[in-house]
Amino acid sequence: MLHIVACIKQVPDTKIIKMNPKTNTMDRRTAPAILNPYDAHAVEEAVRLKERYGGIVSVLTMGPPPAVSAIKKCVEIGADEGYLITDRRFAGADTLATSYALSKALDKIAKQQPIDLVICGKMSIDGDTGQVGPGIARRLDIPPLTSVNKVVEINQEEGYAIVHRKLEDGFEVVRSTLPCMFSVEKTINEVPYSPLPNVIRAARYKPHIWSVDDLEEVDIKQLGLKGSPTIVSRVWAPQKPAGGTFLEGNPAAQVDQLLSVLLEKKELFETKEEI
């Protein structure tokens, strides 16, 4: 029986978020918190593998208490168990401190049921780094496989997985020993609407909630802001460029002016290639 753990994150919906023009910071109140879209694909892939090979899917997240709703979303997709690690001492973590905290939680989950596979989304839409997945893999000392866009085979008995990793001009077929970590591309699957029984189960589901004290052998100095080597020193709006010339008039007049600009620079079209 496979035990797959998907590491997920609750994020503000950056498409909707508004900036406070005075402070240049994100006004989080304006944005609903959602399951990071990339992570939905990670959970979906875990659920598909469970259906293929049998097993259980756990999800793990670090965040404030409302992150429970992101776990419930994963239960809707088909996850069996959810774990939230939440504690003020985790706050302000960069990718290094995040992967440390998550790896400690994974250690504890593995004690209950050994882990065969950790799956992460490609990146989060608020942090945009993609660094936590490989970081977790290094901390657990399991092979990191990033850019996974197809899982060919998982063979638990013989202890290996075969996947496709996306490359700039194609893909490579890689075999890795189990356990290992996949961070998956969005293209790996489509997340369908959740079946009603899952939705009902999710509504009633209560995830396991752990604080730092529930984890074992934790070095507090490696957590949160204190454990983060990177700091944001300055947040700034880039200098506004001078801006362009507005083409005035009605649409026909605007197009006329634009066309004369383009035709004046016809050399721009000369090396035109078939794209």
């Binding site: 950056t14 990718t95 901390r139 496989l145 194609g170 700034w236 634009l258 035109k272 078939e274 794209i275």
Partner: protein, 340 residues
């Protein structure tokens, strides 16, 4: 940790099929500036099989030293093997800064290396600077969904590391005959101890979308309203013989696939002409297209930030303006055949 022991700026050199990746040459250009400001050496770290002959190119593009691991075990990129070489080399020679291309390989490797060292790693940097006296790397990137810039520091650890977007930094003009020092390194790794194997590499035969190579890009944003509305972008691109680009919102809405996405988490492009239609111009988009030759923006909202980055702006309804543009452009083509 004694910072005095850490000296020099390094660039991880990505190579494939006997060629240095262009992002690595760009990083040598950026690294040269940092090294000169600090008065230290610029080095490349080159890992692969049969790669020794690439050192010449690296010197021509600004490297003073190249550390080379040229062994069969490095034939294909694998996190485990490359990471071990890089960690060993870093431990031995102690650079103060290491830069990687923000490619899938560069990001994979840097994330693993940073965890093992451990040190701080800034992702997808678009601006780099260094404090002359302290050697503190100022790595800036669009943040929080891409509406503002943040400068990230790593004060307490060395080396400081960053991945850097392709096509954002400029390579130096190559200096033929410029030479430097080659330091050959070897590491004892046994194939049977490596937990991953590359079984096969498959090049996609289907025509791939490479908008970063297009001379003309017509890009559309959420302002086009719907998947149907976005088709206007395809029509103009077809008329001009250009490629189709898109903002992040459009890709997330599923109107077009991710390879078309321009910006921080998409592709950085430098076409000769860039049309931004119905794109408001979040910083995360701007960093991906601001170096285009001629930028033309069409947007209903006169206050849209895209108008600060464009060369020519049209405030208006794309559904009125673009069809006229398509029609007039077709006429111009048939009239004097100035355009192929």
């Amino acid at each position: 940790m004694d910072f005095q022991d850490y000296k020099g700026v390094w660039v991880f050199i990505e190579q494939k099929d006997g060629e240095v990746a262009s992002v690595s040459l760009e990083l040598l250009g950026a690294g040269r500036k940092l090294a000169d400001k600090r008065g230290v050496e610029l080095a490349g770290i080159l890992i692969g099989e049969n790669v020794k002959n690439l050192t010449k190119t690296l010197f021509e593009y600004g490297a003073d030293t190249v550390y080379v691991y040229d062994q069969p075990i490095f034939k294909h990129y694998r996190t485990e093997t490359y990471m071990k070489a890089l960690l060993e080399c870093t431990e031995k020679h102690k650079p103060e800064i290491i830069l990687y291309g923000a490619t899938s390989t560069g990001k994979d490797l840097a994330s693993a290396v940073a965890t093992d060292m451990p040190t701080g790693l800034t992702a997808d940097t678009t601006e780099l600077d260094v404090e002359e006296d302290t050697g503190l790397l100022l790595a800036s990137r669009p943040a929080f969904g891409g509406n503002i810039m943040a400068t990230i520091l790593c004060k307490k650890y060395r080396p400081q590391m960053a991945t850097v977007r392709a096509k954002v930094m400029k390579a130096l003009p190559p200096e033929p005959g410029r030479i430097g020092k080659v330091v050959e390194e070897t590491i004892s790794l046994k194939e049977e101890d490596i937990r991953t194997k590359v079984l096969e590499i498959v090049k996609e035969t289907v025509k791939k979308v490479r908008i970063d190579e297009a001379d003309i890009i017509v890009a559309g944003g959420k302002g086009l309203g719907s998947y149907e509305g976005f088709q206007l972008v395809h029509q103009l691109a077809e008329t001009l013989g250009g490629a189709v680009g898109a903002s992040r919102d459009v890709v997330e809405a599923g109107w077009i696939d991710h390879p078309h996405q321009v910006g921080q988490t998409g592709v950085t492009v430098t076409p000769k002409i860039y049309f931004a239609i119905g794109i408001s111009g979040a910083i995360q988009h701007i960093v991906g297209m601001k170096n285009s030759g001629l930028i033309i923006a069409i947007n209903k909202d006169k206050e849209a930030p895209i108008f600060q980055t464009c060369h020519y702006g049209i405030v208006g309804d794309a559904f009125e303006v673009v069809p006229i543009l398509i029609e007039q452009f077709k006429k111009a083509i048939s009239r004097d055949k100035v355009i192929k």
